[in-house]
Amino acid sequence: MFHRFANPTRFLKLADVIQPWIAGATLVLLGAGLYFGLFASPPDYQQGETVRLMYIHVPSAWMAMFCYSALAGSCAVALIWKHPLADLAARATAPIGAAFTFLALVTGSLWGKPMWGTWWVWDARLTSMLVLLFLYLGYIALNNAFDDPQRGSKSSAILALVGFVNVPIIKFSVDWWNTLHQPASVVKMGGPSIHADILLPLLLMAAAFTTYYLWVLLIRIRTEVALGKIRARQMQKAQTGYKG
């Protein structure tokens, strides 16, 4: 089953079928998430209306880590089993993950100024998140640094796997060390410490961000496949002596 869809052409046929559904789900979830997040949810007892920044910040941060795990997983599959699709998925995931990381850092900073009293501090959570952004950028840069795309994929895949140690560090930084950033509210022992009215828009937005990622991922994989075909065509032309 895994091997069957590792073929890009077969995968694209499947993608044609599921892409409209994913796009529809994204729009519905995003609409519901924004409605509940902006209008149909109460302010927080301490933060007031500023709590609404969380509906962007927390899903972005989750997706930043999710995308990196997907990136590292795809890179491992590409390195070990040499599946061509895994390589494409990794290349397609990196910019999306970088965008989510950037969004999490910026919204966190906007929230930090009124609540903590500072835009930025070098605590373990914030610093490890910044390192994640640099890992994404490093992956993208290394991937494009070689004339031979195969070599680029291999070197950057190794970088992505090495960087994966950062993901558990981000998740547990708030438990292992004293940080300014608050500990986890949703995914923790003993259940979430968020009231249901505030949790609902958060989960809707998280679901919307996930389907959005899948949507953009399919579009980007399609582009990567097309680019690969163009490259192959050009190579063929070059070999036959610029005739065609």
């Binding site: 109460p42 927080d44 491992a76 060390w177 608050q182």
Partner: protein, 145 residues
């Protein structure tokens, strides 16, 4: 062993070693990664005057005294030890008695002179009415009164 099995084993072992190496490094650097010290840490380590540190804990109930010239005096406690802090400047929105704060500055003759105070937010989120109701029914577990 097939080549892909070799690669799988190699990646697996490399990841294990990498994980172990980072765990060792992080535990070695623990002192430097910690963002703030508690009043007990400060007392136990006998930190000398003049060294810049961050002190974190709760603002002790009834300890906040505002005087002229925007100087605020309060005590930071970790419920075992408390340390007097003086600060001149604007306090963040979330600063109040019982709230977690982090002050940056240095010890001067038993008083912590802060030049920056940050409020720490906890991981509880709820609507104001629920917070009111919890306080009324005596179920309130938060630090803030």
């Amino acid at each position: 062993m097939k080549r892909k099995h070799k690669r799988l084993t190699f990646v697996f072992i490399a990841m294990l070693l990498l994980g172990a190496a980072s765990a060792l490094m992080l535990s070695a650097f623990e002192e430097n990664i910690v963002f703030f010290y508690s009043p007990t840490d400060v007392k136990e380590k006998k930190l000398t005057d003049g060294k810049r540190i961050r002190l974190g804990g709760l603002v002790e109930e009834g300890s906040v005294k505002k005087s002229d010239g925007a100087i605020v005096m309060f005590r930071i406690t970790d419920l075992t030890t408390a340390l007097a802090v003086s600060y001149k400047g604007i306090l963040p929105d979330l600063f109040r008695e019982g709230q977690g704060v982090i002050a940056e500055g240095k010890l001067q003759g038993g008083v912590f002179k802060a030049d920056e105070v940050l409020a720490k937010h906890d991981e509880t989120y709820m609507p104001p009415e629920i917070a009111e109701a919890l306080k009324k029914s005596g179920q309130w577990k938060g630090k803030e009164k």
